[in-house]
Symmetry: C2
Amino acid sequence: MNHRYYDILKQKNLSLTAVRLSLLEAIEEQPHSDANVIFANVQRKIPSVTIQAVYNNLNALSDAGIIREIKPKGSSSLYETRIDDNHHHVICRSCGKIGDTECKGCAPCLVPTDSHGFQLDEAEVVFWGLCPQCQKSYHKQKEIK
Amino acid sequence: MNHRYYDILKQKNLSLTAVRLSLLEAIEEQPHSDANVIFANVQRKIPSVTIQAVYNNLNALSDAGIIREIKPKGSSSLYETRIDDNHHHVICRSCGKIGDTECKGCAPCLVPTDSHGFQLDEAEVVFWGLCPQCQKSYHKQKEIK
DNA sequence: AAATAAATTTATAGAATATAAAAATATTTA
DNA sequence: TAAATATTTTTATATTCTATAAATTTATTT
């Protein structure tokens, strides 16, 4: 078989299957999806697929570093295909909406004051706040009170 | 009743109960504990306590901002009483060990390049890497191969 | 094309967490 | 300080998320 993902998978000793392909496409199209959303999307193309196959592959692809998992409080694991570009996330406290962002002057953040002797390789940053919509409803609430 | 936590709880309309007190102490003594560890510790002082009460309170206290939840991949929710000091965490990829840290020059990190219009109030940073012990066993492994 | 290796389905199970009604415990009011 | 009220906790049940193992199917290698 031949495909854009063939080499990436082969390098990690993973074969290129229909499920895996569809799953990667689903994550590409809708980054920050959870297992159920991904399952539903794959199912549209491959009706026989099972949720177990989805979990298997999410783990296999995560372990191989082909996809990336984030796990914000208030949510189950979410996945994205953007990796190795050190990007971060903004998440709405109220509705859970997620956006990608670079981090201005992020380099200093890779240097914590106390590394506890750890050999660090990644700084994962989540910016918490209110999205534009929730800002509006929050202000409305305030006015009512 | 009178206690160090009385005012803090009262301010949030939460009453001071034996379970809640013991739970807060347990988290203080062992930061970054999960619900089960906290349950076990509370149980030592209050044998009749249930895991539901623990979950209830973890949620109630989180919502009130009295404790803080972190949820690293590969782990269930963990809790700590250190809040409002903008500290961050170093976590070992291999064994899951967690340490607290300040973030050198953290201020710029509160300014993402694209905030998507969000009104941000917190930057949560997790530093991933290998703890001293796991560095050693990792190097051993490498030598064997 | 056949042999081998890997992935997927089918089936089952476990951990983490939530909810709702009844009982117990705090807090407020009289 | 006792009674009334509000809140929390227990008891019981259920859901969601995720993992595992054996049998079948699909991909890859020979």
